[in-house]
Symmetry: C2
Subunit: 265 residues, 2 copies
Amino acid sequence: MIDDSIRPQLGIIGGLGPLASADFYFKLTRMTEALRDNEHVPSVILSVPQLPDRTEAILAGHDGPLAPLQAAVATLNALGVACIAMPCNTAHHWYEKLAASSRAEIIHIGDAVVAEIRRSLDRGRVANLATRGTLVSGFYQDRILAAGFEPCVPADAEFQERVDSAIMLVKAGSIAEAAAETERALHLAQMAGANAALLGCTELSVVAASLGDTNGLVVIDSNAALARASLQRLGYSVQEARGLPTVSSLPGDGRPSLRVARRAS
Amino acid sequence: MIDDSIRPQLGIIGGLGPLASADFYFKLTRMTEALRDNEHVPSVILSVPQLPDRTEAILAGHDGPLAPLQAAVATLNALGVACIAMPCNTAHHWYEKLAASSRAEIIHIGDAVVAEIRRSLDRGRVANLATRGTLVSGFYQDRILAAGFEPCVPADAEFQERVDSAIMLVKAGSIAEAAAETERALHLAQMAGANAALLGCTELSVVAASLGDTNGLVVIDSNAALARASLQRLGYSVQEARGLPTVSSLPGDGRPSLRVARRAS
């Protein structure tokens, strides 16, 4: 099926959404300690943006995304990858079923994130900026508690509305506006007593480098955490991601905003 | 081999280098007129950074990169893609042999670039910031002449040295320094009478959004040209890439520079 000379080590289930995957690929590359091409991890990104909406499926209690996710896992296994990364938090709702059908290890983004939080914080309250699907799925609450941190859920309904809006804005390509919405959600999280805030949706990872001063609040990027875990799992040396792209101050991002987004996956 | 629910339309031969591919994926996504995930092109990126150095092979007169490139084309065909993009200019030296072995159309980056130049310019002198391999291969000179433009080759040896250095710096992850080297090469091109300058190596596409004022010189980005051609070929609506990432002003890009790079592919 694939020649050994080009066999990928890392399989990536991408397109959920596409900009979040591009951000993951960019961070994976920037975080690899490398001076030339051949020091980078050979990989394959299967970008499947036509997958049914993950949050919608979780909230409705159906498994629509599972079959195409399993198909993606099967294809990546057929290509001979050693492990698989899925830069979409919400899709991890189906992690156990996917892992059970995969020869290659699937790196859980939740485990990667907990390791990333521990790099910055020993204890404290962690807010999660995630889709409603991820929150209902519950895999972050479990992991954050088990690691000795305290989940922080802002009571103000505006918090989740800002998060949903930011995610939809990234999917619509309006990154600068998404960064502004994310900053408002971070402010509400800090007001609610959070010491750290997890960008627990990879769409929000896209705006991570464009955020203004967070006033001491520790911000955890789930895409960067997954990139670090992937490189470590495969034995590559990891460096801090230098010069990540920022787009907040660029002109021409004047797409109409989608203020009240009810759902995002 | 692959389930119809996740079949990719666009196959991408990536990793040549990895940052150039991430830039291509980012631009492909940003240039798609889309408000939600499922409006994006399903795609697969096969990132093969272990491929032998392309420029080295061309200058030495051997075909080392051909077999793995053919293997990549075969794999993408097996995955059922409708067409293939290769965001590496130098690798197009082997275009004819690859196209002959591919069911899926391979979009030639040189054709995409000529179309891109025509969007900005009717006539004039075009300088090419490319690897020594691409220049020896000659496919750009042919196409630029055939399209009614005049190739402009700065006589100053410093021009190609700056280009080589910029390419190596991007591969080493030092984007801000690469942008400075690229600006110096652009200045030399303009001094030599160029009306337009082609970033004819996709490593240089990575710094395109980080360049300062080019003093009226039209700058053509080969990755953006290839992304536009790919989307058009597949029937997707294209928008100008808004808010492309820039990294020139970010701190922490203090990697030691590689000033005198002799080769880059």
